[in-house]
């Protein structure tokens, strides 16, 4: 682990955390339509993935991947604009919150249906293979709950059959909304699924940035070098509600106080100081820099126009002359 990598990861984590705290406060202030979904506690995992990917790779983030999105190149403005519904955002007000991406930059925008992005990443990787491209990786994330979908199974099996360079991270944050692991699956550890697909499986303590960087980095490398799909199961706790409307009262205090409940950001901060990789002044400065970015982005977006229904092109086809416009 180099200082550079660790510090860089920390800074993405920090930026994600501060951005999300700001979004949460805007939500509480009634400035955001729809839900707000935080990746609090999942930043180390997500940032590690974003950093392990390269330009030209494919990434389909899920709801708790703000850190990974940033590390893989998402402009903070994309996030703020999508949440605030700016017409200038990548989704132009048509979609909100976490349902954003820029396909041209390799970030696929999720649909809400859990599990659905995995096979799409598989297909993108098949396309790269058809085109003769090698050394590319496609990554996507899902929660413990999402592993129960048929879509998860079909896609992972397809990836295994095609031996695609897919990295699938399962963030087992102990809950799917309010539903605990005990009502979601019955195996000891979700990583036990890997053998059933004939693919590599990796476990990681995602409250700790070191193993995240290492395990995720290694898995991405293995996928890139032709070892087929990589399943990473990360253990952690969601340190927020399912969304900001949810107080997560169903999460037990003992669980919060357990090893799973440790905050990866705080731990990384301590590590930076302990290892002498950063001083408190550095930390303070990074925080201010991140805060400034967040505040600037929000200030910018708040002055931007909302989408105008009168200007909206009410057409779902890219071939307008094939649109069935009867009665419009």
């Amino acid at each position: 682990m180099t200082r550079e990598t660790f510090a860089q990861a920390y800074r993405w984590m920090l930026l994600a955390r501060l951005l999300e705290e700001k979004l949460a406060s805007l939500y509480r202030g009634g400035k955001i339509n729809g839900g707000v979904f935080l990746g609090k506690g999942q930043e180390a995992l997500s940032a590690s993935l974003g950093m392990a990917l390269r330009k030209g790779d494919i990434f389909a983030p899920l709801i708790r991947d703000q850190a990974g999105r940033l590390a893989f190149g998402e402009d903070i403005l994309d996030a703020v604009r999508t949440y605030l519904g700016s017409k200038l955002g990548p989704m132009r007000g048509r979609e909100g919150n976490v349902h954003r991406g820029r396909i041209s930059e390799g970030r696929l925008p999720m649909i809400s249906h859990l599990g659905a992005m995995i096979s799409v990443v598989c297909g993108a990787l098949m396309a790269r293979r058809f085109k003769g491209e090698t050394g590319v990786v496609g990554a996507t994330c899902i929660g413990d709950g999402g592993t129960s979908t048929g879509a998860f199974h079909e896609a992972l099996n397809l990836a295994a059959v095609e031996k695609l360079p897919l990295v699938l991270i399962v963030a087992n944050n102990q809950f799917a909304y309010s539903t605990p692991n005990s009502r979601q699956f019955a195996c000891k550890d979700l990583v036990d699924r890997a053998v059933g697909y004939g693919i590599d499986g990796h476990s990681v303590d995602a409250t700790d940035l070191d193993p995240c960087l290492e395990v995720v980095g290694k898995a991405v490398e293995r996928a890139r070098s032709g070892h087929g799909p990589q399943l990473i199961v990360a253990h952690l706790l969601r340190l927020a509600g399912h969304g900001e409307h949810d107080d997560a009262g169903y999460i037990d205090e003992t669980l919060k106080k357990s090893g799973l409940g440790r905050d990866c950001l705080q731990r990384a901060e301590c590590a930076l100081l302990e290892r002498g990789w950063a001083s408190t002044a550095d930390l303070e400065c990074w925080r201010e820099e991140a805060l400034r970015q967040v505040e600037e982005a929000v200030a910018t977006v708040q002055r931007e126009p909302a989408p105008d229904p009168g200007e909206e092109n009410w057409c779902a086809l890219s071939t307008p002359h094939l649109d069935d416009t009867f009665g419009h």
């Binding site: 339509n33 519904g85 048509r94 859990l114 009502r183 909302a306 009410w314």
Partner: protein, 320 residues
């Protein structure tokens, strides 16, 4: 005062209390009480009968079919109607065909929190009733009032056939009534939500309220518009629709779903073929726009029919 959402909760509480064959299965419906709190406290009031499901809509509905075969009366909560797509196969090919194939009934109720609300976007806003109504073997309910939400859900559980219960999320908190009804129209009967002589508007679910508001708007212009609330779209009460059109000579069908096909097409087709002579002017319809449901409230408010656009359509119809 009781809300539409509370009425749904009360109906489930009563169904659980009255009939030991009833149980509820769905994501987060247990201790948590459901994403919308439609099962609040039911898990503790009825221990072991309100169960959290994994995120497996296909298996949830499949399991309900199996339990129904064995004499139970499951209520399945799909967290949002939009998430019934993974269960589509079990609903349309298994539940809907079971009785016809085997002579064994399939008394399951599938609750679909349906329709748009501001800021919900393309995957938490859909109106799928027309898709389910296309299939033989399903009953499709679309309650528009607190009273109907309550009494129709009780009926849904009592009916021996699979019922797709489309409850509208927009009405959950907005809509209030003084209390729960003690009697109700039977399923399959539409309701004249507002009497009028000048035109008939046929609609259902949340759009009933947009149409009623539009009708009120037109009063000052001297028009009395009749509003028919279908209540269930399958069976669809063609007789009540035709009788109303017979009185008014004019028909507008309004729905929140997409324009190709669906409820409004079915209404116009029925009236055109069976009530052609009753129509003084061409019938019309008003639907959502032909795109996914947009996230931003500005766009959403234009995508769906509203009192304003309904009133405009009514005016056009009345001036023909």
């Amino acid at each position: 005062m009781i809300t539409y959402l509370e009425a749904i909760r009360e109906a489930q509480a009563k169904a659980l209390a009255d009939d030991p064959r009833v149980y509820i299965y769905g994501q987060d419906v247990g201790e948590f009480g459901g994403a919308f709190k439609a099962t609040k406290n039911l898990a503790s009031e009825f221990p072991g009968r309100v169960l959290d499901a994994p995120i497996s809509e296909d298996a949830m509905v499949g399991s309900a079919i199996g339990a129904a075969i064995e004499g139970m009366r499951p209520i399945i909560e799909i967290q949002f109607a939009d998430f019934s797509t993974p269960a589509f196969n079990q609903i349309v090919n298994h539940a809907a065909t079971l009785f016809w194939r085997t002579e064994v009934a399939c008394p399951i109720t599938i609750r679909l929190p349906s329709g748009g609300t501001a800021g919900s976007g393309p995957f938490h806003s859909q109106s799928m009733e027309g898709l389910y109504a296309h299939y033989p073997g399903l009953v499709v309910m679309t309650p528009a009032t607190v009273e109907d939400a309550y009494s129709m859900l009780l009926e849904a559980v009592a009916i021996d056939d699979p019922v797709i219960f489309c409850e509208h999320k927009y009405l959950y908190y907005h809509l209030k009534a003084d209390g729960l009804p003690t009697e109700a129209l039977p399923v399959g009967k539409a309701r004249i939500a507002r009497q009028g002589r000048d035109a008939t508007v046929v609609t259902y679910s949340a759009m009933v309220h947009e149409c009623l508001a539009a009708a009120e708007e037109l009063v000052v212009e001297g028009y009395e518009v009749e509003v028919v609330d279908l209540r269930s779209i399958k069976p669809l009460d063609t007789d009540t629709v035709l009788a109303s059109v017979a009185r008014t000579g004019r028909l507008l069908a309004v729905g929140e779903a997409w324009p190709w096909g669906g409820v409004t097409a079915e209404i116009l087709a029925r009236v055109a073929s069976e009530g052609f002579g009753l129509l003084d002017v061409p019938p019309r319809r008003l639907n959502a726009k032909n795109t996914p449901v947009p996230f931003h409230p500005n766009l959403w408010g234009t995508h769906r029919p509203t009192a304003q656009t309904v009133a405009r359509a009514m005016r056009e119809l009345l001036r023909l």
